[in-house]
Symmetry: C2
Subunit: 131 residues, 2 copies
């Protein structure tokens, strides 16, 4: 059976609208470009849906695996401890399963965006735009 | 006279090493790819060099304009208030001049990385890598 991928784009959450706006825009862009993928957003704190609610909302979509990806630039305590705890990872694992529609669905954990060359290109583009 | 561009990549700063590592890696990538550009890093807090020290370190490099670009995903109070204040922008302006080597050098302000499609592509790539 081929897998049907779900992506959970995880935001930090903020009292200001900017973080939520960016995570939603990322999710919309991915969904438009990859129509075979089910994309949801969830926030660690201060915004809704929560990560737990977002995971539950994959019910009925037919996904067979979910990649939870933090829309964060850098690693840190949220990435290494807080979010894994919410996702239900045990003992430093980056994988777990949840029940959705009576089936065991695997959740895997993506790395934060980090020092990828795409980020460097984007910083250079922002510099050019400012001139 | 053609301009010689300086880019100041501004990081939030952190007690953990991740933020500093990413901002430095971004600066190194840009400097390698664009050898005609002088790239420096500066941190808003908790790491060194400070933004002020980083600006001063463009002395002697011959830059004629500096683009200060926050290596931040989302806008927020740091972007709209704290960093502009450190850079010396007045009254909501996103431009100022500093004296370097006895000359007036313009500083302009780049936007944070935001919901650019490059970010969406990178989140999708992180999901694929996790499978």
């Amino acid at each position: 059976m081929s897998e049907k991928l779900g992506i959970l784009a995880i935001g930090h959450g903020s009292k200001l609208p900017y973080n939520k706006g960016i995570v939603e825009s990322v999710a919309n862009n991915i969904a438009k470009k990859h129509t075979d993928v089910v994309v949801k957003v969830g926030f660690m704190n201060m915004n809704e849906p929560t990560i737990e609610d977002a995971l539950a909302s994959f019910a009925g979509t037919g996904v067979t695996i979910i990649a939870a990806v933090p829309v964060f630039l850098a690693s840190g305590v949220h990435i290494t401890q807080d979010i894994p705890k919410i996702l239900g990872f045990k003992d430093g694992s980056e994988k777990t399963t949840i029940k959705l529609d009576g089936k065991d669905i695997t959740i895997v954990y993506g790395k934060p965006l980090g020092g990828d060359e795409l980020i460097s290109d984007l910083v250079f583009k922002r510099a050019q735009e400012a001139l």
